[in-house]
């Protein structure tokens, strides 16, 4: 990640002239403020406004690959990955169920691992690869897990389904789909209010036994 260290350029020139600035820069060079429009940051650094920078930094640059495409965004540090995907990128396949890590509807893959996007700060995904439900199919060809959910009726209302499918793909990739019991345990992070569980388990078994192509 090429985050800018703030004060970097200013440092060589001004370090020696101004002791208070030097101590500020010394402290801040231990922390890489990922941030900001460099202009406001430099201004803040010059004014020794360590504490006040928070107010200046409303948005930070976020560079992440989503479903194979690189995106450069500008986000508030408090924005979750889930909200960025849905609100900023129009990728509404990923669902918000509880917004607190309790349901799994928001499950996406970050660098290939399944995570709850509702508890992930977008800015912490900087430089990483995200896959959402929209990224599974290859053009018009559905992912085998999507096919299997259709074949086995792995849903009723469909609200939990994107999260279930993202989790199911990871469940097999992790090697945790070796028995019905193991699948149930390793799919327990995805709640289905409609109770489609038996069919979801069947879909996963089917893909696993058919030898899933990633």
């Amino acid at each position: 990640m090429e985050n800018e260290k703030f004060g970097m350029d200013a440092r060589q020139q001004t370090d020696l002239k101004d002791p208070s600035r030097r101590s500020f820069i010394k402290q801040s060079s231990l922390l890489t403020a990922v941030a900001l429009t460099p202009a406001t940051a430099l201004k803040a650094a010059e004014d020794h406004l360590d504490e006040q920078i928070a107010g200046v930094l409303e948005k930070l640059p976020l560079r992440m690959e989503v479903n194979g495409e690189m995106h450069n965004l500008s986000v508030e540090p408090r924005a979750t990955l889930l909200d960025i995907l849905r609100e900023e990128m129009d990728l509404t396949g990923t669902k918000k169920g509880c917004d607190h890590g309790q349901c799994g509807a928001c499950t996406v893959h970050v660098d290939g691992q399944r995570v709850n996007s509702c508890l992930t700060l977008g800015i912490m995904v900087n430089g990483k690869k995200v896959t959402t439900i929209e990224g599974l199919a290859k053009g018009d060809v559905l992912h085998p897990m999507q096919e299997a959910f259709l074949k086995h009726d792995g849903f009723q209302c469909g609200y939990c389904t994107p999260g279930q499918i993202m989790s199911a793909v990871a469940c097999i990739n992790e090697g945790h789909a070796n028995s019905e019991g193991e699948i149930r345990e390793y799919m327990s992070g995805n709640i289905c209010r409609c109770g489609a569980y038996p069919n979801i388990v069947n879909a996963i078994m089917d893909v696993k036994n058919g030898g899933m192509e990633a």
Binding site: L30, T32, A33, G104, V115, M124, S188
Partner: protein, 326 residues
């Protein structure tokens, strides 16, 4: 959620400098902190992201198995050294949260997670832990999930971690870095009882961070078991959990380690019960006796009296599993 400043630390020293300032908090997996920030239970001015620091390793040292504070719960649970040497820890980790959450959650964050007491989470309710001096909503409220050991008139919350119960049983130590350098603490001394200051969950001082935990070698790998009883089979916090580890030689118990979760403000280590098992045979009767001894000093509240029966039953059952009786 309140707006905050986000910075990344490029070294442990950077983290320590940053968190020495009031209003600054470490963020690791974010699974507890982001949740609490969304609910307004905590509202830091600045977060220090530590996730890229080199604190993820799991390796053998002269002192035992060393696990970095940033090792992910999912990674620790499946690590070959952990599974071979301390299967109890792997079992406890797998009993916690969900696969997605374990992919985010770190060892340090797990230790530092706050109670799940619903009054603590609800900012409209009194809670001495969240807002000291406002009273305790749970005493006299719906206290089904709450503690039966080590409570105070200020707070009856439990520590919600599974991992910590196993680490307490396994005699782990915690390695901490702060403004004055490094220090170590026994894992059983890391978390506090509520006493007069329930706002403090543990003995980490301002400006200190967790670097790692270390588990000394032992003879418990063959006979350990983590038993967690909860309202549903998975993805729920413990009502009661038990970490049991036995060293059985020639049919006699030579060493025992026992700790409970879901019953106190900290992982509840049962030193006396462990001693009582030494020299005994691993039988149902001996385990039932040990379980009764464990309940000395237990005190229930209006809705959690069931734990007075559930806890000893869980201890006996965990010991049976650990010793191979079931």
């Amino acid at each position: 959620m309140k707006q905050f400043q986000y910075v990344k630390a490029s070294s442990n020293a950077g983290v320590i400098t940053a968190i020495s300032k009031p209003g600054t908090k470490i963020i690791a997996g974010g699974t507890n902190l982001v949740d609490l920030m969304k609910r307004g239970v905590t509202a830091p001015d600045r977060l220090v992201d530590i996730t890229h620091l080199p604190l993820k390793s799991i390796n053998i040292t002269g002192k035992g198995l060393h696990i970095g504070a940033l090792a992910l719960n999912s990674v620790v649970a499946e690590n070959a050294l952990v599974v071979e040497k301390h299967p109890l820890l792997a079992m406890a980790l797998k009993a916690g949260a969900s696969p997605q959450l374990r992919n985010m959650a770190t060892v340090g964050g797990n230790m530092m997670q706050r109670t799940r007491c619903t009054y603590f989470y609800d900012t409209a309710m009194p809670c001495n832990k969240r807002a000291p001096g406002t009273g305790c909503g749970a005493i006299g409220g719906i206290n089904r999930m709450h503690a039966i050991f080590g409570t105070s008139s200020k707070c009856i919350a439990v520590h919600p971690s599974d991992m910590c119960v196993a680490l307490a049983a396994l005699d782990a130590t915690v390695i901490i870095a702060g403004p004055k350098g490094q220090r170590t603490l026994q894992f059983t001394e890391f978390h506090r009882l509520p006493g007069e200051h329930p706002e403090l969950d543990n003995h980490l001082a301002t400006g200190e961070m967790i670097l790692s935990v270390e588990i000394p070698d032992n003879n418990f790998a063959k006979n350990s078991y983590y038993l967690k009883v909860r309202d549903r089979q998975s993805y729920a916090f413990a009502l009661v959990s038990v970490a049991a580890a036995l060293d059985i030689q020639n049919g006699v118990i030579r060493g025992a380690r026992l700790a409970m979760g879901g019953v106190a403000h900290k992982p509840w280590r049962l030193f006396e019960v462990e001693k009582s098992l030494i020299g005994k045979k691993p039988t149902e009767e001996n385990f039932a006796q040990a379980a009764q001894l464990a309940m000395q000093g237990a005190k229930a509240y209006e809705y959690n009296a069931f734990k007075l029966k559930l806890a000893p039953a869980t201890i006996a059952e965990a010991l049976k599993h650990a010793s191979g009786l079931v």
